[in-house]
Structure formats: structure tokens, C-alpha cells
Amino acid sequence: MRNWNWRLISTHAILIVGVLFMSLPVWVAFATSTHSAEHILRNGLQIWPGGDFLSTYNEVLFVEGGVMKAVLGTTMLKNSLILGIGFAIGKVVISMLAAYAIVYFRFRLALPLFWIIFMTLLLPLEVRIIPSYEVVSGLGLLDTHVGLIVPLIASATGTFFFRQFFLSVPDELLEAARLDGATPWGFFIDILVPLSKTMIAAILIIMFVVGWNQYLWPLIMTTKEENYTLVIGIKQIYQILAEGGELPQYQKAFALTILATLPPVLVVLVFQNWFVKGLVESEK
């Protein structure tokens, strides 16, 4: 039994070290964000929370000039939410419709269209970034929500996911529905969408996180400060810090980091089971 106990202890020890490795940086970021700039500069990073939580977060969120020149933390929060939610919903709607057409209809261009959708896997934003920027600016969509969200939602991942799921739905359901007189649209709305509820929820969660965390595209798309998302704001505050000047406002940088991290982390934690299921299933 002795042996077994040592094994158990070492297992827990490894896991605890792992948890600390994963969590400590974020905790330190939070604890440090609750101290004053002077305190941080003098004493370095902090492991215990300080007394400046309210003043720092208040300034970051609500005071003009608190973090950026003009934009408030709340505005960036709002922009991030619009991007995250818009991206998630747009992606689910577009990919469900396309997957439905591809799986459930016999039509001449089905195969070529499937390959066009497949090709998006070969063309991540990073390899077409400059021409993409030109297209969006040519269409006058810079600094708009449409220009920010729409180009992101057409990639194949969601469509493949729903295609896979639809293929796993028994054929007999469609046959039964056809005998029951369901129209193509009726089958989609009455049977397929309710059937996919869990899958839709899982994809919404994953895509919210993916959308919220978008970096490169918003970075080149937004030129005005008022359109910054939190993730983009972070880059800006980094540059301000790097440029130096007066007393570096580290606590605000950390506060912004925490604000950018909190919503997606909460979503993942609250909907953990759906999220894991969706993530693991979608990659099959």
C-alpha cells in the first residue's frame, strides 16, 4: 500500500504543478492590476491583491484617456462582444445552411461547391492578408462591423462540422419526414435544427471564443480607436508601455489583460461540457 500512496502523491504533485503553471501567470496579472503604478515599479509583480482594484478598473473602463487617448474600456468591451457574438451567430447560420444543402440535396454543382468551401482551409487569413485588406478597403468596409465579421465567417470549419453531424443523422428520419409531407424548409426547421441543438450550442461557444480572440484581422481592419476590440487595445497599450515616457501604467495593462480574458474564460467555464464536446467532435 505504501507504494501506491507514493504514486498517488506524485500524481497529485504533478497535477498541482501543472495547474500552477497554467494559472499563476493570470493570477499574478490580476493581483498586480490591483496595485498602484508606483508600487509595481518599486516592488515588481504582485502575488497578493492590493487596494487599487476599484480605481484602476474604473479608470480603464469608464474614464476617457484612462487607457487610450479617446476610447473607453467599455467601448472596447462592446466591440469585442459584437465581434464574438456576431461571428458565432453568423458562422452557425451560414455553415448550417450550406451543410444542409450539401448533405440533403442532389444538385449538379454540389461537388464543385463543396470543394470551393474546402479550399478555404488552404487559405488562412495570414497567407492572403494584404489583398484581403485591399478588397475590404475597396468595398469601403474598413472600420465597419460588416467588414470585420463577414470575411471571417465563411471558412469551412463550421460547415464541415455540421456536414459531419448531418451525415450521422439516420436517413430514415428524412424518409419518415417526407412521408409526413415535410417540405425542404420544413424538414430543416422542424427536424434538423431542433435535433442539432446541442451541437449548435457547442459551436456557438467555441466560435464566440474564436471570434473574441481574433487579432490579425481586426488589427489591419480598424484604423479608428473607437473600433478597437479589447484584444487590439492590448497591443496598443503594449506600444504605449514600450515607448516609455512618464510612469508606466503597468496596472492598467494588466487590468486590460484581465478584461480581455474574463468573458471568453467565463463562457468556457460555464458551458464546459458543451464546449469540450463541441471541440472534440468538430475535429473528427
Binding site: 497529485h12 497567407v127 489583460t257
Partner: protein
């Protein structure tokens, strides 16, 4: 495909139309542009351009800075893939073993998935800040003459560490679900056949995880190539002297900062080929998995 399908003329086209339209405008057209521009040479003011065949490719890809970036990308992605997979596998195996606190461990090990790479980058950047960063001070205190702003090894160390940290949780989720997918009876049979847990792991569990591992390798290489952009851009930005430039970061630098359209496009096309290769490998693998 389904055995029975609706036969309808217009409806399926209406359903796929939104996605196809967006793909054509924002994917295919820009990609075609990139390919086209990779064959053009613009003058310094962007007023005229001429068709130069593969000169851009020759100029950029044979240039010292591109080769340096390619070399770094190779080392970087190998390290990130190997380290984050090993760490995640270790944690997943341990988390799968414990009964008490299993769900707590699971939750606290996976939540970092939700953190954006640039956010992780900024956090890491501040940890390594020479003025306040404890990690920076710690490494110097233990006798390592650590300076990631000047020393390329140290800079590489920083981006690898942050990139690994960010990727462990995804790998952990997949490994854990892979481990939980191994039938209980197989584990029980192996317990009767083999006394040593370590040997059991390498002879039974690890081979059964092979499909997951292979799949994750592709995912991790893709991550190291592309998604680490946000980390590089918030930490070293290629410094010192381009030592931590990845290929993707270099495309962005040359295209946006350097305004070298032809060269940047040629690099993009090379990246497309790399993605193509990765995708082919992945699909080959999926085909194999079907026969498993």
C-alpha cells in the same frame, strides 16, 4: 452523401449562396491576387509594375532574412509542438488517473484555452519586463545572463515558453478525451497482463492514443506557424535582428511595414503551399483513421 435526398432545383443554391459569395469575395479573389502579385515587381512609388516571373520568389526566398525566418520557424514549431504535446499528455494521463479532484484539475488545466494568443503574449511580455518582471529577475538571479531584447536565444526562449503555455490546454482536452475513449475493459485486461504502469502506458495506452497524437501534431504545427503571430507581435516582434521572425510574421512585416508587395506575396504563396502540404498530410491521416 445521403441515400435519399431532396431533388430540387433552386433551393440548395439559395442555401449555399451566402457562404460561396463570401468565400469568392474574401478568400478566392484575394488569394488569386496574392498569386498574381507575386509575379509582379512594383516601382518604389507603386505607380507601375512589370511581370517578372519568379524573380520575387528568388529574391525573397533566397534572401538571408527569409532563410533565417524559415530556420527559426522550423525550430520554433518543432519545439512548441513537442513540448506542448508532451506536457499536455503528462497532465492528461495524470488527470485521468486521479479520482478525487478530477473535475477540478480538468477545469483548471483547460480554461487557458479561452485566452487569446496576443493576450498571453502581453502577459508574458510583462513577466519578462526588465523593470518589473519577476521571471526576468529570477533568471538573472540564478546566474543566467538573461536578456531577451539582445540575445536571440533568450528571445526564442520567451516566445517558445509563451506559445507552449498557450497551447497546452487544447492538447490536454484532446488527450484527456482520447484517454477516456479507451474502453475500460482494455485497461482492465492490460492490468491483468502487465504489472508495471509505465510499461502499460507505453505498450497499450500510448499506441491507442496514436490517432489523437497524430491529429494534434498537425494542429500544433498549424498553430505554431500561424496563430503564434499574436504572441510574436506582442513580445519580441522578431527582435533581436529578425532572430524570432516566423514566416507569417515576416509576410506581415514586409507587406505592411516594408510595403514590398511582390516579395510579401511570393512569401504568401509559399505559405499557401505549406498549408496545402499540411492539409494533405492531415487528410491522408484521416483516411487511415477510417480503416483503423
Amino acid at each position: 452523401m445521403k441515400r435519399v435526398q431532396f431533388e430540387h432545383s433552386a433551393i440548395p443554391y439559395l442555401f449555399v449562396a451566402p457562404q460561396i459569395v463570401i468565400i469568392v469575395i474574401f478568400f478566392l479573389w484575394p488569394a488569386a491576387q496574392a498569386i498574381y502579385q507575386s509575379f509582379l515587381l512594383e516601382d518604389a512609388w507603386g505607380l507601375s509594375s512589370q511581370f517578372v516571373w519568379f524573380r520575387n520568389y528568388a529574391d525573397t526566398i533566397l534572401s538571408e532574412s527569409w532563410l533565417q525566418a524559415a530556420g527559426f520557424t522550423l525550430v520554433f514549431s518543432t519545439l512548441v509542438t513537442f513540448l506542448s504535446l508532451s506536457l499536455a499528455l503528462l497532465l492528461a494521463v495524470k488527470a485521468n488517473e486521479v479520482i478525487r479532484g478530477a473535475s477540478t484539475y480538468k477545469t483548471t488545466l483547460m480554461w487557458a484555452y479561452a485566452i487569446a494568443p496576443p493576450v498571453a503574449g502581453l502577459m508574458g511580455n510583462l513577466m519578462f519586463n526588465p523593470l518589473i518582471g519577476d521571471l526576468y529577475k529570477f533568471f538573472n538571479a540564478i546566474g543566467w545572463d538573461f536578456n531577451h531584447k539582445l540575445d536571440s536565444f533568450d528571445a526564442g526562449f520567451v516566445v517558445v515558453l509563451i506559445s507552449v503555455w498557450k497551447q497546452v490546454s487544447v492538447n490536454f482536452i484532446f488527450f484527456l478525451s482520447g484517454l477516456q475513449g479507451i474502453p475500460k475493459s482494455v485497461n482492465e485486461a492490460s492490468m491483468m497482463d502487465c504489472r508495471s504502469p509505465t510499461r502499460r502506458f507505453w505498450t497499450i495506452t500510448f499506441p491507442l492514443l496514436a490517432p489523437t497524437t497524430f491529429f494534434l501534431m498537425v494542429i500544433n504545427i498549424t498553430y505554431a506557424f500561424f496563430e503564434t503571430f499574436g504572441i510574436i507581435d506582442t513580445t519580441t516582434r522578431g527582435a533581436p535582428g529578425g532572430a524570432t521572425n516566423t514566416l507569417v510574421f515576416k509576410v506581415f512585416q514586409d507587406g505592411f511595414r516594408g510595403a514590398d508587395l511582390g516579395g510579401s506575396s511570393a512569401q504568401s504563396v509559399v505559405l499557401m503551399l505549406i498549408v496545402l502540404a499540411l492539409t494533405v498530410v492531415q487528410f491522408r491521416f484521416i483516411e487511415r483513421k477510417v480503416h483503423y
